[in-house]
């Protein structure tokens, strides 16, 4: 890596804003932070005195907890606001809420919001650094980075790998961030699912659309299944979970087509027996819990980097 390199981004809004060099740099920092979580005293003073607000307009357990743990391990002060406790319930606009938060001088706002593009809107109206923790069906960049980190840890590289993503690509911000991230680092990304799950023009992001799960999985180094949402109204995407599981569920049999050392991934939460069989989720090659562990490290790295990457204390 270029010695002159500096991470230049004040906000993390989407994978699309990061160069390959940026992504590799985040991963290298995350790798160095990962060890902190293994210490008996899991805390460094790097972000002491920084105020971080977790601003979640959608229900989330693991992402919010992951960011909160990351912030606390860096000694930042964290506060959680969720949609049910925020003034959004009282009709306040996102911008007004943001300005009110701004008046309390937070350093970082981590936003989860159902509207695509809302982190960008927020970044235009506040001085705090904004980290997108999932916006609509747009992106979930910290998840994209933790997926890169997990594959990198196990395969030692991203370039040249074949990544198969199976499921509802159209409604998945994780798939979007992963396609951008893996493609930018030189992997080939294949996507598969019924056509009702394929967004128009997904090829323009660099993904190759496969007609069947078997085609996508054939010779793949990584197979990722996405959570199938059951709650979409007025839009018949699949006839039943049963039929979906039969044709697109990731099973041991399907995985026989992949490389023998295939990694199994899932952004969670899993519908066991629908998009992925339990023996696959818990079996050899499954790195699903590594993803969760790496999530904390990646988020520690992101908090550190958007704060300018200053060494506020001992990170060793």
């Amino acid at each position: 890596m270029n010695k002159e390199y500096r991470f230049q981004h004040k906000h993390l809004l989407e994978m699309g804003q990061l160069s390959a060099e940026d992504m590799l740099y985040v991963l290298s920092i995350a790798r160095s932070f990962k060890e902190i979580s293994a210490r008996p005293i899991k805390k460094v003073p790097t972000l002491r005195g920084k105020t971080i607000i977790n601003f979640f307009f959608e229900p989330s357990t693991r992402t919010r907890l992951s960011f909160e743990i990351a912030a606390k391990r860096m000694s930042a002060d964290t506060f959680n606001i969720s949609a049910s406790t925020s003034s959004a319930q009282k009709g306040e606009t996102l911008i007004d809420t943001a300005r009110n938060l701004e008046a309390m001088s937070p350093d970082i706002i981590i936003l989860r919001h159902p509207s695509s593009g809302s982190p960008l809107l927020l970044s235009q109206h506040v001085n705090a650094a904004i980290i997108n923790a999932g916006d609509g069906t747009h992106e979930h960049p910290s998840q994209g980075l933790l997926d890169l980190m997990t594959v990198m840890e196990h395969k030692g590289r991203i370039e040249g790998l074949t990544i198969a993503i199976i499921g509802d690509i159209a409604h998945s911000r994780v798939a979007h961030s992963d396609i951008v991230g893996f493609t930018r680092l030189g992997a080939q990304v294949r996507v598969a699912g019924p056509a009702t799950f394929m967004p128009p023009g997904i090829e323009s992001l660099g993904a190759q659309v496969c007609a069947t799960a078997a085609q996508a999985v054939a010779g793949a180094d990584v197979v990722m299944a996405l959570r199938i949402q059951q709650e979409r109204q007025h839009d018949p995407l699949i006839p039943s979970l049963r039929e979906y599981a039969r044709f697109y569920g990731v099973s041991r049999k399907l995985l026989e087509l992949a490389k023998t050392d295939v990694l199994i991934m899932h952004p969670g939460p899993i519908n066991r027996g629908v998009e992925m069989n339990p023996d696959v989720a818990d079996g050899t090659g499954s790195v699903i819990l590594d993803q969760v562990a790496n999530g904390v490290a990646v988020r520690m790295a992101l908090l550190y980097l958007v704060m300018g990457g200053e060494k506020g204390g001992d990170t060793q």
């Binding site: 606009t93 996102l94 695509s116 960008l120 809107l121 609509g136 967004p199 128009p200």
Partner: protein, 437 residues
């Protein structure tokens, strides 16, 4: 004593009378009159060397927001914006609060318009409250002053209702203006469906949502023999359908808007809510197809769909923003750009922006014939200006063209012989400054 204005040495472009020549135009007591050999004492003479003199522009599709949403626009502010953009008349859509579905609302609008800076032609609702069930009282609406009916903004879902609307409107001599949208396909969509919507993670509206409904309207016009006007066409597919229908003699007219021949879906990048409207900005091939439709006569009119919204509706998350943009002050410059691009001629611009709208709505203007109302627009095709929020006259500033450097604009607008907008002096000062004075 009569009031006489003589517009001297302008290029008079009047396709309705097959005129395109240098000359003088005389306005007397609100009418266009034949020039006389002697200039009468007290006549106001304006030298318009280098300018175009055309029949007053007519925008057949605007939203004036009054009654009900006066914080966005009023009949006064909207018509002032119209005069500024060179328009002498506008047809206002019925989706006010309350909906213009009764003569009382029509009369209210016309009373408010008495002092307005442009003629206001109310469009009545197709169905009661634009609710999609039951016909509004077209006879009474027409007697009160409506010039057409439309449920603009609320597509007519029920095909039988649309059929009856066409038949019944024909009995009262009113055209039906169709907002063509199959809402089962467009539901929840916020921009064109395609690569860009996928990249931005926004729900898409496929082109088929428009073309399916345009096909229905054409089939119903054919069935009933009534005439239909297709509003704000955005897709190449719908343009093709209209072209074919016209060839086989269906009584259809159609309009498109400047944003559809100027911008594409790429304008949404950055989640720009001023690039959100319905129908949405489409792909480049659609933009090209719309331009061809303007060239070959598939489109009869250019209308703005002027849709003022305040920051309350626009400074929000993209998928929560209101649809619509203002257009009255940018329509002429954007259409003049089509001339410079070789897409249309000067005469065709006048047809699209004045003559055809007057004919479709059956209203005054659209022509500079002797005896016509003295609604006249003077255009300086060279004049350059930058569109800024401060410069916009409309009460709302929701334009995707903010910051654009535009060329060509109205510099003088006459409504019944009375000046409603005058920018000649500013132009002169600018020129003198440019020449170093």
């Amino acid at each position: 004593m009569s009031e006489i204005t003589i517009l001297q040495n302008g290029r008079i472009i009047d396709p309705a009378n097959k005129v395109d020549q240098q000359g003088d135009l005389w306005l007397r007591d609100g009418r266009i009159v034949a020039p006389e050999s002697l200039v009468p004492a007290g006549a106001r003479c304006i030298d318009l060397q280098g300018k175009w003199v055309v029949p007053g522009l007519i925008d057949m599709h605007v939203h004036l927001r009054e009654p009900g949403e006066e914080y966005k626009e009023t009949i006064a502010s909207g018509t002032l914006a119209a005069a500024t953009g060179g328009f002498t008349a506008v047809a206002c859509m019925p989706n006010t609060k309350p909906v213009n579905d009764t003569a009382a609302v029509t009369r209210f609008i016309l009373e408010q318009a008495v002092q307005a800076s442009a003629r206001v032609y109310p469009v009545g609702a197709i169905s009661k409250g634009s609710g999609g069930t039951g016909l509004a009282e077209y006879g009474e609406l027409k007697a009160a002053g409506v010039v057409a009916v439309s449920d603009d903004g609320q597509p007519v879902v029920d095909s039988q209702l649309m059929r009856r609307a066409m038949e019944y409107a024909a009995s009262h001599g009113l055209p039906v203006i169709s907002h063509s949208e199959e809402i089962a396909l467009s539901r929840n969509g916020v921009m064109n469906e395609g690569q860009v919507s996928t990249r931005l993670g926004l729900r898409g509206i496929p082109c088929a949502a428009e073309s399916i409904m345009v096909y229905r309207e054409l089939a119903l016009a054919e069935l009933t023999g009534a005439r239909v006007h297709i509003a704000h066409v955005s897709t190449g597919a719908a343009t093709d359908l209209i072209r074919q229908a016209k060839k086989r003699g269906v009584r259809v007219t159609a309009e498109t808007a400047p944003h559809y021949f100027t911008l594409t879906e790429e304008a949404v990048a950055g989640y720009n809510t001023n690039a959100r409207m319905n129908p949405p900005l489409r792909a480049e091939e659609d933009r090209q197809a719309i331009r061809i439709g303007l060239q070959d006569g598939t489109f009869d009119a250019i209308a703005t769909d002027h849709a003022p919204h305040s920051v309350l509706e626009k400074q929000v998350e993209f998928d929560r923003a209101a649809n619509g943009i203002i257009g009255l002050e940018t329509s002429l410059p954007l259409t003049l750009a089509l001339i410079r691009a070789g897409v249309i001629s000067e005469a065709r611009l006048v047809e699209l922006m004045s003559t055809a709208p007057a004919r479709i709505l059956g209203v005054a203007g659209g022509s500079l014939a002797i005896g016509e109302v003295a609604d006249v627009t003077v255009i300086d095709p060279e004049r350059k200006f930058q569109l800024t929020e401060e410069g916009i006259v409309s009460q709302s500033k929701n334009s995707p063209f903010l910051g654009w450097q535009l060329q060509g604009k109205a510099v003088l607008t006459f409504l019944g012989g009375r000046i409603t907008y005058n920018d000649l002096l500013t132009a002169q000062v600018d020129r003198l400054k440019a020449e170093g004075f």
